[in-house]
C-alpha cells in the first residue's frame, strides 16, 4: 500500500466532509488485518518495518477521518491551507465575546454548590454549537467556499477544546 497517498484515497472515500463512517470503519478493519505486523514476522526486516509503518499510517488515517474536527482540518490541508496556523489570531469579535462568556461560565461552575445541572446544560449547548459548525463546514466546503469552511473549523476547534475542559471539570467536581 502507498502510504504517501491521502487518507480519503486510502479508504476509497470521496474527498468530502460527509463520509460514511460505516464504510470507513469497515475498510479500516480490512486494511488493518491485511497489514498487521504479526503477519509479516519472518518476512525479513524490510517487510516487517513496512508493515509497522503501514499500521502507523492507518491508525493516523483513521483517527483523522473519524473525528469531524480533524477531518475538516485535513480537508483544508489537502488544499494547501493551514487553518490552525498559530500566526492567525483573527476571529470574529462576536464569537470571541461568546467564548469569554462561556469560559467565565465554566469558571463559575467550581463555585456552585450543585454544579451537575449547569454542567449538563452547558455540555448540551456546546454539543449543539459543534453540530451547527459541522453543518456550516460541510455546506461551505461542498460549495467550494473554503474561507467560510476555514472559519467554521477554527470555531469548532475552540468548542472542542471547551468540551474537553468541561469533561475534565466534570470529572473533578462530580467524583
Amino acid at each position: 500500500m502507498d502510504i504517501s497517498q491521502d487518507y480519503f484515497t486510502c479508504y476509497s472515500l470521496p474527498r468530502t466532509f460527509e463520509i460514511d463512517l460505516g464504510v470507513l470503519r469497515q475498510s479500516h478493519r480490512v486494511l488493518q488485518q491485511q497489514y498487521h505486523p504479526d503477519r509479516f514476522v519472518g518476512f525479513g526486516e524490510a517487510q516487517e518495518r513496512l508493515a509497522v509503518q503501514t499500521t502507523a499510517y492507518l491508525n493516523q488515517a483513521f483517527a483523522t477521518l473519524s473525528a469531524p474536527l480533524r477531518r475538516g482540518i485535513y480537508l483544508l490541508q489537502l488544499l494547501g491551507m493551514d487553518p490552525m496556523a498559530p500566526t492567525n489570531t483573527q476571529m470574529p469579535m462576536d464569537f470571541l465575546l461568546q467564548q469569554i462568556e462561556l469560559r467565565e461560565g465554566i469558571e463559575e461552575l467550581s463555585r456552585v454548590p450543585d454544579p451537575e445541572p449547569a454542567i449538563t446544560a452547558l455540555a448540551r449547548e456546546l454539543q449543539a454549537q459543534a453540530e451547527q459548525l459541522e453543518v456550516d463546514f460541510s455546506q461551505s466546503f461542498a460549495a467550494d467556499n473554503y474561507l467560510s469552511a476555514e472559519t467554521a473549523v477554527r470555531k469548532l476547534q475552540f468548542i472542542v477544546k471547551l468540551q474537553q475542559q468541561l469533561d475534565a471539570l466534570e470529572g473533578e467536581l462530580l467524583d
Binding site: 487553518p83 490552525m84 496556523a85 498559530p86 500566526t87 492567525n88 489570531t89 483573527q90 476571529m91 469579535m93 464569537f95 470571541l96 465575546l97 467564548q99 469569554i100 469560559r103 477554527r154 470555531k155 476547534q157 475552540f158 472542542v160 477544546k161 471547551l162
Partner: protein, 125 residues
Amino acid sequence: MAYSEQVIDHYENPRNVGKMDEADAHVGTGMVGAPACGDVMRLQIKVSDEGVIEDAKFKTYGCGSAIASSSLVTEWMKGMTLDQAGEIRNANISEELALPPVKIHCSVLAEDAIKAAIDNYKSKQ
C-alpha cells in the same frame, strides 16, 4: 515542559487582570484567539487625550504562557504612547519570558491583541 521563573511569576501573580468599559471613547479593546490551543485573550487600554496609555487590563483564558504574555504587556504598555506600544513585537515578549519555541505563538497572540486594541481605540476617535 518547564516554565521559566518569569512565566510562573506572571502566572501566579498576574498584573492588571480586569475589564474596562468598552463603550468609553478613551478605551480600546482588542480581542484575539488562537484556535490551535483554544486560547482567548482580551486586552484593553485607556488612552489619555495626549495619546498616552494610562492604564491597561487583560483577561486571558489559556495556558500559563498566554497569561504571562498578556500580563507582561499590560505592564509594559502603561506610560507608552500608542506608537511605542505598537512597536512591541512578539520577539520582545518571548525573550523577556524565555518562552520555548512551542510557546512562541502565545506571544504572537499578545502582540496581535495590542494591535487590535490600538486599532479599536483609533476607530473610535
